[in-house]
């Protein structure tokens, strides 16, 4: 099950490709669709792999993409932390 999800603001994207290149779990790919400025925004190809680390959000120079952890993953994360750092 996916631990996170990616949200994309298509209209802000300038298709630099940073998010596609540096996503640690290779969730994204540039799509063939255009936004209204004529760029190819990324789309999610492997939603199940997303860990919600938000590295895409850190890299995006156009503030057009970000990752969030799912509520279940967040709850599990706090539980493991309390339980002594189990991976």
């Amino acid at each position: 099950m996916a631990k996170g999800r990616v949200s994309i603001v298509v209209e802000r994207c300038k298709a630099c490709g940073f998010c596609v290149e540096f996503c640690p779990t290779h969730v994204l790919a540039l799509s063939s669709a255009f936004n209204s400025k004529g760029y190819h925004p990324p789309h999610v190809v492997h939603p199940e792999k997303c860990s919600g680390c938000d590295l895409c959000g850190m890299y995006c120079p156009d503030f057009a993409i970000y990752g969030t952890k799912t509520p279940e993953a967040k709850a599990a994360g706090t539980k493991t932390q309390a339980g002594g750092g189990e991976k």
């Binding site: 209209e11 630099c16 940073f18 120079p61 503030f63």
Partner: protein
Amino acid sequence: MLNVIEDSTVNPVEQFLRTDRMPHIWCPGCGIGTTVNSFSRALVESKVDLDSIALVSGIGCTGRVAGYVKLDSFHTTHGRAIPFATGLKLANPKLNVVVYSGDGDLSAIGGNHLIHAARRNMDLKVICVNNLIYAMTGGQTAPTTPGRATTSTNPYGTFEPAFNLPALVDAAGAVYVARWTTFHVRQLARSISEAFAKKGFSFIEVISPCPTLYQRRNKMGDGLDTMKYYKEKSKVKNGAPTGEVGLTLNGEIAVGKFVDRERPDYQTLMRAQYVESLGERYIEVTGEAEPEMECACG
């Protein structure tokens, strides 16, 4: 442009942006937006009071940051970000003053201000986005352009020796000097948080791609190719002597925290001096409104 997303989540950087001004003017593949992400994460991590922040920018591509962030910000004249920030800090010492500007603005047009603010150890956090060129004006050679790079004013290659900014501010007396590239987003955010905890002149250099003017003329590909180059060729050298971290064309990039030391800052020294020589007659500037004085001119 509004953030149109069906789910109820929101981008962590959104609260720091003037969304009505988006999309911004920076080119596709430019790294300045990435540094803004790291800056916003550092603001969250360091839990600094957002009302106490004043962000000062000069002129240039990076100078636009002041117009895009939803903080108290000032877009000053070319090269004068540091003097303006110095005045702000002296008039209201409670403020956390951040200078966010480019290499041309800080080290060329405002070069003298940079070294003197470092010498005085003014309590400023300076974030210098270094794209190795004057980007907004059309790609002229900047003092930071490494040797042999082709620019619009040096079509046969630059021959001037370049500034090594960490060495410059280290020699002038900065208490915190770090360098990262736009590839090192998390390290950069941590460095900015550390600078917020530090009193004195903190200088963080961020090497950033300029795909339109620097990379294109030097046949270095686009922004993504440059990010891959940063990933491949940058080497973390914490505590390295700053004299050895100069940049070369296509060479290795030394990154890391180079300097972290303690030195009394300008306002501490000023207070000590005036208290010693004036005693009780010295009234400290607190930044709060002063009681109205009667005009002596009659």
